[in-house]
Chain length 422, copies 4
């Protein structure tokens, strides 16, 4: 496939230099359906990126699309702030029935604004308010968002520099396996907590991703997560799981922490919770933490009703039974096999393959190779991105609804891209 | 009209205590069209709130609705991060042609995430980065958002307390007319800036609303805004106009600062920029400030393409000529006359009437009266809210597309509500 | 008198560029007695600076000298940390008997370390601990010290820049007469406190100097101080009077706030409290504020026993009756007359004369003139310094023990220096 | 020896609850000479505390005493701010000739105020100013002072809580041997520095004590210090050695870092630098760092001339040759042998013995035992203190001038105290 770089004039002349994805993928996308996107020149791209995890049910999923158009057609409330609406009620009922009740999760539901960083800001505010302490512990290579509260617990130094103020009240700790297993889990963290002379400000909470997506597909082991949950309880700190990228079934189960058998105090959801790629987010917390004043946190778009409609449709369609979880795990095995085959085919790469469910990463010891692979994949019609602090990991986030054949097609392109960038 | 309080069970049992509007308006809204919302019991409400300014073109505006449904039907890209898409290009071109060029505004356009607070966070980051200073000056009773960066320059003490950390790097200055004209404008601010011993950390920027909506419909005079712009230039500070609530034609002109004849360095837009009540926001800035690194600020939902579609449709429909501005000013005169008549009818209220375009406030010296009026108005079928630090101001934000008859209907209900709360 | 600039080699080669007084007074001082200092070339200088207020009883005051030598001779404890010592007990008893009891002041006494900035740090810590709030209000052109806590409430921008971190948790308010009487006292401050939407973080305390020495001899009126004390009480903020430079009789009464008839919650003393120019400081506070944990604030030199000895001797000698206060006021009148005569002689100067007791300032509208006058005075054998944000004020701080003749001598030199710098 | 608890009334009634040493040692001390203190009831105490390291040359050392009295007798300048004085010149020359030149140390000398915390504040300010970064790395169980800048890099949680504001801009790292050798040195610190996604704000400087006195006599190995110095150089961070307690010969060499063969960028000295227990401190730094503005940091008592006199006398007397260093090391061996004998005599204690030169610690696994031992030692006429985060270490800091017999006497009392608290 030959792609003629399109005239990007208005993007280049008018849009800020901050733009990024459009640089790596110099196309103008027009339509999208299921696992594919189409640019305006008619090229087709298989999407192994899925809106950075916001499109678990594929592009313009027909079931959700039907519900969405019906709602718009009938003049359902579009913008509802935090008023009661029928769409919001339907969402709350679906969420309770398909997600919370079957998992015996006691959470209250907060609509903190429609983006992930809003959900994280609300989570951190609540944790600080409940515990009366300012400090939050996060982990190396964490990513939690771009507003100042969330950015302070995010690792990436380039993004942190954008703050323009010193980012304080956060302390990073080593994520699982940070020292390749040579150091006991939580040795440093627990020592600081137990030592009255350590100089660590006692944290209100710990915020963690079960798998760090932006940080390089770093997968925390279930036992590490359990030990973290126990540490939090022992030390009177709240445990916040930021499930924005890994929740909504990405790892198999609806919540990525289910496998570990833990119940975090606070959970953030966004990205795929709206189902159709529409802005929506949730902050969930144990009922005893619900000490908010009415309106103490708010936001104009926290009642994005079209998203409630597609969200409820997605929950009812995909989460009424355990089918989705099983399918994701099966598809994940397919991915893992192919990635391991690629790694085996190229022992010189020293590639590390890791993941869970339908999130996978392949780290290259020759770091720039990862970007070269993604660039070549794009030319070959596959959308795939890097992650990690030095963009050294090729990250696979296909839609959960992808067929085995589509998956195979993408994995073959990836194998070819690896080969052709040797 | 008698309203039976509906069963709110799932809202009460599952949604967080942080919910607010649904407390004052105990209804479950189902449909909305133009200036009206309808609850599930079939009651009709005239909407003088308009999504807190996010619905300037009315609910489910048919022109935008058509464009939106067409886009969804044809599987246009829904979720695009910051990739180039045809919908984004169309929006950028409309924005350039209908808004920037005719006003000779040189701005670069940034998509900082789809909410107002994202736009403010990006504006503050950029100002700090450009100037290499941390401090920002805001004004008494300012409202800029709920994430930590924006909250630090917001006045409301209850909302600030929600942060759970000390909010620093911001200093409040008196808004226009804070001392009823007894003190010279900027006497305090300029004295601090010019006195090397004042203890004020030199600000990177000043952030201001031309009319403070949440703060109580406090209207800055054009000459005050001009003097502020000159002060900023003289003192090497950037001027940020937060036009999230007052932009998009709310005061008549598209940008609320046009009347003052100033060109801010940075402008934030959100709420009605998407046209249909869909989450969208922009940060605009002079090209020489565009020193962002690619991806230094990002966000999953910054490419909400359905909003680009409705936004472009709104711009093309309403802003290709000066019709909208004229109409808003005419409607505003209608509102002003009625409010002044109400005030005259009730001299005992000592009511202060203020506003511009289609944003108006009526302040009650007997502060709780304002909430009582809104409560009674709701019972009479009018959605109207209070604002101000003690909720002492009844705030009118009808859709700009409201007909003179609808406006009259709402103003008559308001007059009755005032009368019946005496 | 002609002064040969001495060889300053080791000062210039070895001492840091941060040194300052030695630049304006290029002499090497050797001996000092009463109101005079002597350099190693035998030149005599009348001292109108008195260790920036640390030598109220003159240089090497013979009464204190005797006590000091006796104590050293008999091997009294020199360094006592915060152990009980006979010298410390004697000081505490003298302080109670000559200062606290006669004034009916209920204060507890804390030894926070031997410098003024230590005393301020302890005062701010305690205020924050008691009130559970972080913010402190200070005033324009305040000076409270150089360690980070004290520096954050100090006005001077050059000194603030030295911090290397953003100085936060402090907000400056206008000192008395900041707007030449055109604005009502505390209009801005009280408005911010009473407005729930002001954005001011509620302060734990207000810290104030009754006369700002470094800030330019700005004299707060008694009624302003009383109004401030009332405001603090009304608004549940602690009032801290930093009496480091103006206490110990500088303004007449032992505490500079006595004239106003107020009882601050916390008072800091340093400079002349040791009597002999030896490092010592105190933080005083109402007993109900004494919620310190043992050792929660400490410092190696907080038990500088030689200073306790000279301090007690000074208190017993000078403060057992009201003589000192009367004499200071009389000497002050002598200074005022002379300064006013100088101002009258030079109407072109537009000089402003202000002060109280034995602290006086003369502000020059031609700002560099103040430094020129001090330079010429030095050549003529008078040590006198400038203050104010632009060093525009000649500041007179003679020892309180100065004789009328010495005072006259200095004032005549000053008059000549003014004349000769025309 | 039986000690009648003296009447402590004025201490109890007037002095703040913050007092601490006087609680553990309920005596009123009157005189002191060499290694002994005497209370007013005539009891004698052997001093193994030495003013927390401020009395390395013993109490009221006769050589220094002579110089001090002579200076006072002849009316030498007592209080000199930062004017040039003969006493200051003599000190600078002695310091250059006896300390800097023989060690080939290029430092500029700053007088930052007379206390240790002043010296640390100045060091941190300068490091931040030079590097343009805010963050400082300190170590677990560090102690650097009580003013806010120094407190932020101090470990003790009780002391940190006294700040009343969140202490930020500092990050603790594990001190040498924090994990009993199970973890590679600097594994965590260097990983964070090299990982662009770690979330660590790049530090301006690292501040370290070679032996942590307050932290529990934790002795850094020379190779650890060298590796730290190399890490600082490699990572463009300044190395600050806080030698306030361990400098001035406490560990043998004048500077405690000499043994490691490193040259820190900045060094702080206080405590024994004045020789006689008089308040004095220095901040030393490489000449290329001397970018201070004149007066950018200042302090009333930074020219404590009596301390300059005793300091110069101490340097000339004790540091003109290598005698002092040799003697200290010999005395240290005597201490070590006795402590190890005590430990051997009581294997049930699991006591850990550690130290260098004349600073030693004995850690008790039964933590409260350490305080019990000190209490019993006091009753037996020995002043000795605990340190460590839980006061679990008995700390020995005898004067460096102590005789072998006195040392033996004290060690015998200590052995008895250990025995009698079994």
């Amino acid at each position: 496939m030959t792609i003629t770089p399109p005239a990007l004039s208005v993007f280049e002349s008018l849009e800020s230099e901050v733009r990024s994805y459009c640089r790596g993928w110099p196309a103008v996308f027009d339509r999208a359906q299921g696992s594919y996107m189409y640019d305006e020149d008619g090229h087709r791209y298989l999407d192994f990126f899925a809106g950075a995890g916001a499109l678990n049910y594929g592009h313009n999923n027909p079931v959700l699309k039907r519900a969405l158009i019906d709602y718009i057609e009938r003049d359902g409330v579009t913008h509802g702030l935090d008023m009661g609406t029928t769409a919001k009620r339907a969402f709350l009922e679906s969420f309770q029935n398909t997600i919370l009740r079957p998992r015996d999760l006691p959470y209250k539901v907060m609509f903190p604004g429609p983006t992930g960083t809003n959900a994280v800001e609300a989570a951190l505010k609540l944790a600080r308010k409940v515990k009366g302490r300012e400090s939050i512990v996060s982990f190396t290579n964490a990513f939690h968002g771009m507003s100042l509260g969330a950015l302070a617990v995010t690792g990436n130094s380039m993004k942190r520099a954008g703050a323009g103020i010193p980012l304080v009240h956060g302390t990073p700790m080593p994520f699982d396996n940070y020292f390749d297993g040579t150091v006991e889990d939580f040795l440093w963290f627990e020592s600081l907590l137990e030592d009255h002379g350590s100089g660590l400000n006692k944290p209100a909470a710990v915020i963690v991703e079960t798998i760090q997506g932006e940080g390089g597909i770093n997968v925390a082991r279930a036992e590490w997560l359990r030990a973290l949950a126990e540490l939090c309880e022992r030390q009177d700190m709240l445990l916040i799981v930021d499930d924005i990228q890994m929740g909504c079934g990405r790892t198999g189960a609806f919540f990525s922490f289910e496998e570990a058998g833990i119940t975090p105090d606070i959970v953030t959801l966004s990205k795929s919770i709206g189902g159709y790629g529409l802005p929506m987010s949730l902050t969930l917390f144990k009922p005893e933490l619900d000490i908010w004043e009415p309106g103490e946190h708010n936001g104009t778009f926290r009642g994005n009703n079209p998203a409630f409609v597609t969200s409820a449709a997605a929950l009812d369609t995909y989460w009424a039974d355990g089918q989705m979880e099983k399918q994701t795990i099966a598809r994940g095995e397919q991915v893992e096999q192919s990635l391991r085959a690629i790694a085996q085919e190229h022992p010189e790469l020293g590639a590390d393959v890791r993941g869970r469910g339908l999130v996978w990463g392949m780290e290259f010891t020759d770091k720039p190779r990862a970007s070269a692979v993604c660039k070549r994949a794009f030319e070959l019609g596959l959308l795939i991105e890097t992650s990690g602090p030095e963009s050294e990991v090729v990250k696979l986030l296909p839609p959960l609804t992808i067929s085995p054949e589509e998956l195979d097609e993408g994995l073959r392109i990836l194998a070819r891209a690896v080969r052709e960038t040797a």
